[in-house]
Subunit: 96 residues, 2 copies
């Protein structure tokens, strides 16, 4: 059994049908920061996270789409390594 | 300044040119478990992680490709939520 921590930070990545990409992107953008292609992250309160999930569940197709949210207590408990182009254009401008 | 924790668990996600997808997939697969499309995760020692990064750096194009590794102390400090199709075919069979 995992402990029920207070999670206040999340990573979110999705793999959804291209038809719904834009909608999912916009919902995620509302709550989190766009990090890379189909990955978002950022500080988020448990209540906001519930709203995010509610919004996403309205959009996605439960058989075809996939969204995974990794919740962390804060952004101090992970380390990050980037290989390759850090200044990669995220394509955000093209999508919105 | 972040503390220098002992990281033994990692998430890895990549966005690489389709020409190098297969190679990157195979290298990641060697060290981690395939989780979803371009996302891997699993327990990994710091020394193995160094090898993984070394292998990836040989393959990827530093201007065109992007690989991000999120390191965690263990798999007990995060919570996970999946929306949509949990039994999604990862496409692994098609790729390897």
């Amino acid at each position: 059994m995992k402990k029920n921590y207070n999670y206040n930070y999340a990573f979110l990545f999705y793999d959804v049908n291209v038809k719904r990409c834009n909608k999912v992107f916009k919902v995620c953008k509302k709550y989190l920061s766009h990090f890379q292609k189909s990955v978002f992250r950022g500080e988020i309160t448990p209540s906001k996270l519930m709203l995010l999930k509610k919004d996403l569940n309205k959009i996605i197709d439960e058989y075809e789409d996939f969204v995974c949210i990794i919740k962390l207590m804060n952004n101090n408990i992970y380390g990050e390594e980037i290989l390759g182009n850090k200044q990669n254009d995220t394509g955000e401008d093209l999508i919105l």
